[in-house]
């Protein structure tokens, strides 16, 4: 049953992607409630999936790579639902939906939903550490999306070729302010996630700690560069995209390694 919920959820996000693609191809992109409703419905199915899986496991559903990807997709949608209205909701949705479809599509198609042979005992600190870190990833994902929007608009302004989507983008300076805020939120939550990792009562694998600190340092450097005005907004936007790509790859690596180690 839970997989069907996820399929319905992915279909909703996919509907938003298809609609946006058709509008962009026709050159008549328009804001509308469709994207927001499709994402809202997709989010409800995501939440239902996590709830069913959580009840089944008797803990936060973060026991394998499959669940990690779904939780991440849920975080992205949740943060979008929270902050979307502040920045022309449908448009950010148009950029958010493809990312969620990619994450969930991959999770559904790849053979990564490997159940643990024994029930994983509940550990509140571990669950807090994992979930808060993934919510931070959600904020980084949204910063990455805002970065894409920034670069799209910036390019159009530079080249003097304005597509219909240009007229629906938030002002460049507002978008940059949004990127900065999302980076700070993501960074604060990620720091909390890392710190809480030391209270889990488990020995921390060196590779995981190293990767987590690497991501933390990368975002710290971006924020420092932004704060001291060493980095121009276009560089910050580009680094948000690079940063999230790196973070996602490392997350995959960390979870995959942990999963391999935990299997008999």
């Amino acid at each position: 049953v839970d997989r069907y919920l996820l399929i319905f959820s992915t279909a909703c996000f996919l509907a938003a992607v298809v609609r946006t693609s058709v509008a962009l191809r026709a050159g008549i992109f328009r804001l509308g409630k469709f994207n927001f409703l499709a994402i809202g419905l997709g989010f409800i199915f995501q939440t239902a999936f996590l709830s069913v899986r959580g009840h089944e496991l008797g803990r936060c559903p973060l026991t394998n790579l499959f669940e990690v990807f779904i939780f991440l997709a849920w975080s992205v949608a949740a943060i979008y639902m929270l902050i979307g209205p502040a920045y022309r909701l449908s448009l950010m949705g148009a950029f958010t939906a493809p990312l969620v479809v990619l994450l969930q599509g991959f999770a559904l198609l790849a053979p990564i939903d490997i159940r643990h042979p024994v029930k994983v005992p509940s550990n509140p600190w571990l669950e807090f550490h994992a979930s808060i870190s993934l919510v931070a990833y959600g904020a980084f994902a949204l910063a990455c999306i805002a970065g894409v929007m920034y670069l799209v608009q910036e390019r159009q302004l530079k080249t003097h070729h304005l597509h219909s989507i240009f007229y629906h983008l938030p002002p460049l300076t507002d978008l940059f302010a949004a990127i900065t805020r999302l980076l700070w939120w993501g960074f604060a939550l990620y720091t909390l996630g890392i710190v809480s990792g030391f209270f889990t009562g488990h020995p921390l694998p060196r590779v995981q700690v190293g990767a987590a600190l690497g991501v933390w340092l990368l975002y710290a450097a971006i924020l420092q560069g932004r704060h001291l005005r060493w980095l121009a907004p276009t560089r910050v936007a580009a680094l948000c995209i690079i940063g999230f790509s790196v973070a996602l790859t490392l997350l995959w690596g960390i979870t995959f390694t942990a999963q391999m180690h935990s299997l008999p």
Partner: protein, 356 residues
Amino acid sequence: MNLFCIGLSHHTANVATREQFAGGATAESIVREAGCTEALLLSTCNRVEVYAVSQSRISTDEIARCLMRKSDTDPHDYAPPFYRYEAEKCVQHLFRVASALDSMVVGESEILGQAKKAYESARTSGAVGPYLHRLFQRAFRVAKQVRTHTDIARGAVSIGSVAVDLAQRIFGKFSDRKVLVLGAGETSERTARALISRGVSDLRVSNRSMDRAAELAQAVGGRAISFDEWAPQCREIDILITSTASETPLLTPEKLAPMLRERLDRPLFIIDIAVPRDVDPGVNEIEGVYLYDIDSLQSVAEQSLALRRQQVAAAEVIVAEHVTEFVDSISRAFHPAPQTAEHASLGKNSLRTSEL
């Protein structure tokens, strides 16, 4: 009941012809002289149209005669450019006009305001009755829906408004933005005024002639800057509007780049409306600098127009839906079933096919 529209517009008549019929009549005088039950006169620089309701058919010549400024002119001279729409076609025409689909610049916003004004004026004089009231209220609704649900009004289509529109796309609000006007020409003054009307409060003017700079600064509520001191202003300002008569570029990448190092996180929007250009095109390559010269502004205006034209089909669909719905609802409201033999001719079909 006959509903009709008689008029001429930029599609059918030149300005010399149009001006013969503009300002010669009022909705009230048309009701009185032509014997209409209701009438409304929509007179703008691009069109003169009468929307009217009558018990019996009123000829186009009769309306043309009412509209003429000079009574000694033969209305037949002007009959050819007049168009006449009746019943459903009249409804459709009005909805298209109000939605700016029939305008010279598709999607322009003035026509809706002009139509509202014309309606108000006719209503005040008592020339508008329940029929035209419903028709125009629906037309305003259609126009609003077309503007909301399509991109017909997106993007600016004149040089000055393109510049202001782009500035808004970059900065959002103007309240804390600083603007420097370099060269006190007419276009830059217009652009500066448009920016002030949108909320710019810090405006600086620099010109070779300090007197002219002071004059313009005073006129627009800004402050004058000596021409020798304009360049360092680039460290602070957000928008530069330049239109001097200089033969060589005043601003080059070599001059500007060092000044921008301290303000990496703030974009600089440069509007160069001078010919020859005041700003070296290489400046656009600097990070965070967006340079628009007269050609690029023109190109953006053309792109906006093309975008608006793409939206016409979607807007026509909205109009068509409303026409059908309005014709049905007005037929029901004014000729409720069951119809008596006496009123049978005023039923739903009468508005559709009408003798009208």
